[in-house]
């Protein structure tokens, strides 16, 4: 439903404030919907039309139950698209509606300008509807069981994509050099007189070169030539899939790439939107009599609970900190080397670069680089941040440290690859028998084995030949696999990891 007149006025008013601050976004369309409908849309990840799948039903079940029991309410929903679509919940009070509108403009600006979103499809609403139609047709033809089961299979590997893939410009495949002399096994030999030849071209060296080259050639014959993070793409290219299966795998992969940037900028994006709604509301849009309601809702947005991480809160604090630091010139060599606490506290170079800086940062950073660069020891202390972990002795989750280095490392670990294992295809012709070998790039945390086993079964459903993953369990190399009949879990010497 389109907005009633009063909300339309408010929307235009806030639109004016937002643009006045320099926010810039695609046309943003608001719809007002009731709670059942908002739960439905939320279950579909914000899209009005998605392909049929039971997990959306499960989401909906949980959302509507927790709404009914008063446990949660969907605060805002906005989708990265051109035009941007956003939803307002019918029956919210006017302050909440205003807040959400201001918040949405923050997101819309972020979607348009942050580089991680630059490769996303801005007509995703259409694309998703298109996916829905394709899947529905397949269901009409093949029956829901078959199609849905295969979607389950694909979803179970939908995190095996290359999150940075869209931004990497790959060099064209290298041509064979034609300058080398085949007689020497393709090794360069420097011109030398006979008596000097053994010194200028020592045989050991030539042999070494020849071997290196052979390995290089062998590697290039490998499939894939280099380990590949985009496992889904690899499967699409080389797995024996039927047309409809390929179509589904493609759909799942496309959607995974579309949603990836939102995961990669959660802290920044929520922080940015919260920063702007708080500024627009408190400086401009709020009527005096709405103050308490606003304070109440704001305090809920940025509330923290023990052992939980609130990206809204952490995000907005970092943004404000950046703004303040660049306003007061608290950066650069002079600042870094200043060790006088008093001086640091009263530091003010009157630069006023805060606004300029935050707009620049919202364009060029993602969560990892954002935290890496702008999380400061002062901020960690001020925000009472800590790192926590599970203590198997006491069987409790405990605070591990409040030390800046550890907090930052822990946070970066959780953000790296979304806190999930890095996995790549290393060999599509493993054991020279068309078996598939994946590698878990072990970073100190082991895989969850029961799930790994399930995923391997699913991979086998796609690859149709034995599938394996090499990993480390209890500090020893293991080869986990599934050959169509039984699960394999063998001791294994890890293949050497070559720089790629």
């Amino acid at each position: 439903m389109t907005l009633p007149a009063r909300l339309m006025e408010l929307k235009d008013e806030i639109d004016g404030y937002a643009r006045g601050h320099g926010l810039d976004y695609f046309e943003t369309i608001f719809e007002i919907v009731d709670y059942d409908r908002i739960n439905e849309i939320a279950a579909y990840g914000g899209f009005p039309s998605r392909y049929p799948h039971w997990r959306f039903g499960m989401e909906y079940d949980q959302l509507s139950k927790s709404y009914r029991y008063g446990l949660s309410k969907i605060y805002e929903m906005v989708i990265n698209n051109d035009p941007v679509y956003a939803y307002l919940l019918e029956g919210n009070n006017l302050v909440d509606q205003k807040t959400v509108i201001a918040h949405v403009y923050g997101h819309a600006d972020f979607f348009k300008h942050n580089f991680t979103f630059s490769a996303t499809n801005r007509k995703m609403v259409d694309r998703m509807a298109n996916h829905a139609t394709r899947v529905r047709r397949l269901i009409d033809r093949l029956g829901i069981e078959r199609v849905e089961t295969f979607i389950d299979v694909c979803l179970s590997i939908d995190n095996l994509i290359d999150y940075h893939g869209p931004f990497i410009r790959r060099p064209p495949a290298r041509e064979e050099e034609d300058t080398v002399d085949a007689r020497d096994g393709g090794v360069h030999r420097l011109p030398a007189r006979d008596y000097m030849d053994d010194f200028i071209n020592p045989p050991e060296f030539l042999e070494e070169q020849r071997q290196a080259r052979e390995e290089e050639l062998k590697r290039r014959r490998n499939l894939p030539a280099n380990p590949q993070r985009d496992v889904l793409l690899f499967l699409m290219e080389f797995a024996p899939l039927e047309g409809w299966e390929l179509d589904i795998l493609n759909i799942v992969r496309t959607e995974a790439y579309y949603f990836a940037p939102q995961g990669m900028t959660k802290i920044m994006n929520e922080g940015w939107a919260t920063y702007w709604h708080s500024r627009i509301m408190t400086e401009q849009a709020l009527d005096p009599d709405e103050f308490l309601d606003y304070a109440d809702s704001y305090s809920r947005v940025v509330a923290t609970a023990p052992g939980s991480f609130n990206p809204y809160k952490v995000g907005i604090e970092i943004w404000r900190d950046i703004e303040e630091r660049w306003n007061r010139g608290m950066f650069g060599e002079e600042w870094e080397h200043c060790s006088s606490l008093a001086e640091r506290e009263s530091w003010d170079r009157q630069l006023g670069h805060g606004q300029e800086k935050i707009f620049q940062v919202r364009k060029l950073y993602n969560d990892i680089t954002f935290i890496d660069e702008f999380l400061t020891p002062e901020l960690v202390e001020r925000q009472q941040m800590y790192a926590f972990g599970y203590n198997p002795k006491s069987k409790r989750w405990e605070i591990d440290s409040r030390e800046f280095g550890q907090v930052k490392t822990q946070l970066l670990d959780n953000l790296t690859n979304f806190g999930t294992p890095v996995i790549e295809v290393v060999d599509g012709n493993f054991r020279n028998a068309a078996q598939l070998l994946l590698r878990h790039n072990y970073l100190g945390i082991p895989l969850r084995l029961d799930w790994a086993e399930e995923v391997l079964r699913n991979l086998h459903r796609i690859w149709k030949r034995p599938v394996f993953i090499e990993t480390i369990v209890e500090d020893k190399g293991r080869l986990l696999g599934f050959d169509g009949a039984s699960v394999i879990n063998d001791a294994w010497t890890l293949s050497e990891k070559k720089p790629t």
Binding site: M58, T304, G307, A387, E398, N414, L415, R448
Partner: protein, 368 residues
């Protein structure tokens, strides 16, 4: 709404899970403890899509707030970390609680146990009928015309006769394309039923035995409730003497005396005579014991009472014998000997909890 379809798919999947695990649920008394008014809450393992993930306890997180290093943030019973929802998106193997109505549960049970519907006795079987819209038909009043389906039919006809022109997609329905909503009448059963539970509470019946009886009675109640308009339950406990008690007492009494089963049967007949004329009521006496009776004479009396007083009134008589370390288990043999051919006498031996599933199937499988 489109979500309905997905929501139904999800519920179907959940039903499938419950069905698969029904034997386990039926053996588990926990379920009854969760019994609410009209629904029970069933713990189902969360239905997750498996992915390559880290073990949740191997990966920490970052939080904010008060606390010293070493302070606890909550214990680790659940697989999930304390609210790492945002950063790590850990999906642990926590259990999902699902509410299922008793009707739904009975339906699932009926499907899995292949329970037939009961043909109730009595003249006045159907109290009233209720009409609900379901399905379509080619004739009907205009007010019930289903536009979308009518046009679909018209489109089908035009395509099959070649009249349809995609460049000029005009669809004109004719009389025979029209579809109208139709309705079906549902019968609401009029008859009532009474279940008389009798249980031996003598010393040889231990807690485990009583728990089995409790679980059995829950499932019997659940099923019969769907088959009749109203269900009344009466409870009799007995050792050497019998008395009527309420439900709570029924399941929580332990006596130590001997066992005279005939006392319970006699009381049962009294209750039936006083309150439940067989012409108006469907009568289901169930008796549970460990099969020990005081004397051969008393057993002979029991058989007489059953033949003369209970069976003529009852739709069926269920005897469930739970195995206990003390009981001789003789009683079921006596019954088998005397009532081997009697259809309405249903005997079931329940050796342990896992047998509850089969026992219920035996009791209710005949559709009486």
């Amino acid at each position: 709404m489109k979500i309905r379809q997905d929501h139904n798919r999800f519920k179907e999947i959940v039903r499938g899970r419950i069905k698969k695990e029904l034997r386990r649920y039926m053996a588990n008394g926990e379920l009854i403890g969760r019994q609410g008014q009209k629904e029970v809450r069933i713990p189902v393992p969360r239905i997750d899509i498996p992915r390559f993930r880290y073990g949740s306890k191997d990966q920490g997180g970052v939080g904010q707030g008060e606390g010293e290093v070493g302070d606890s943030l909550g214990d680790g019973d659940g697989q999930e970390g304390p609210g790492q929802g945002e950063a790590g998106e850990q999906e642990g193997a926590k259990e999902l609680e699902l509410s299922v109505t008793l009707d739904e549960l009975a339906e699932i049970m009926a499907e899995e146990l292949e329970l037939p519907n009961i043909q109730p006795r009595g003249e006045q079987r159907i109290a009233s009928t209720r009409a609900t819209y379901r399905g379509l038909r080619p004739v009907g009043p205009d007010a019930l015309r289903h536009m979308k389906r009518s046009y679909k039919e018209a489109l089908k006809r035009m395509i099959s006769t070649g009249e349809y022109d995609p460049d000029n997609p005009v669809v004109i329905p004719r009389r025979e394309d029209m579809r109208y909503r139709s309705w079906a009448e549902e019968e609401i059963p009029a008859t009532n039923a009474v279940i008389v539970y009798m249980m031996d509470v003598s010393g040889s019946m231990g807690d485990e035995q009583k728990e089995i009886v409790r679980i059995e009675s829950f499932w019997i109640d659940t099923w019969l409730r769907t088959q009749y308009r109203g269900i009344e339950s009466r409870y009799i406990i007995h050792d050497a003497t019998a008395r009527e008690v309420d439900q709570h007492t029924f399941f929580h009494t332990r006596e130590s005396g001997g066992t005279m089963i005939s006392s319970a049967y006699r009381l049962c007949i009294d209750i039936l005579e006083a309150d439940y004329p067989a012409s108006e009521w469907n009568i289901y006496p169930f008796h549970f014991s460990d099969g020990d009776n005081w004397s051969v004479d008393d057993t002979a009396q029991c058989i007489q009472l059953l033949r003369g007083g209970i069976l003529p009134r009852a739709n069926m008589f269920g005897y469930g014998q739970v195995e206990s370390p003390y009981g001789s288990g003789q009683f079921i043999k006596d019954l088998r000997e005397h009532f081997g051919k009697e259809e309405r006498m249903v005997l079931s031996e329940i050796k342990n909890r896992d047998m509850i599933f089969d026992s219920i199937k035996t009791f209710l499988g005949k559709g009486m």
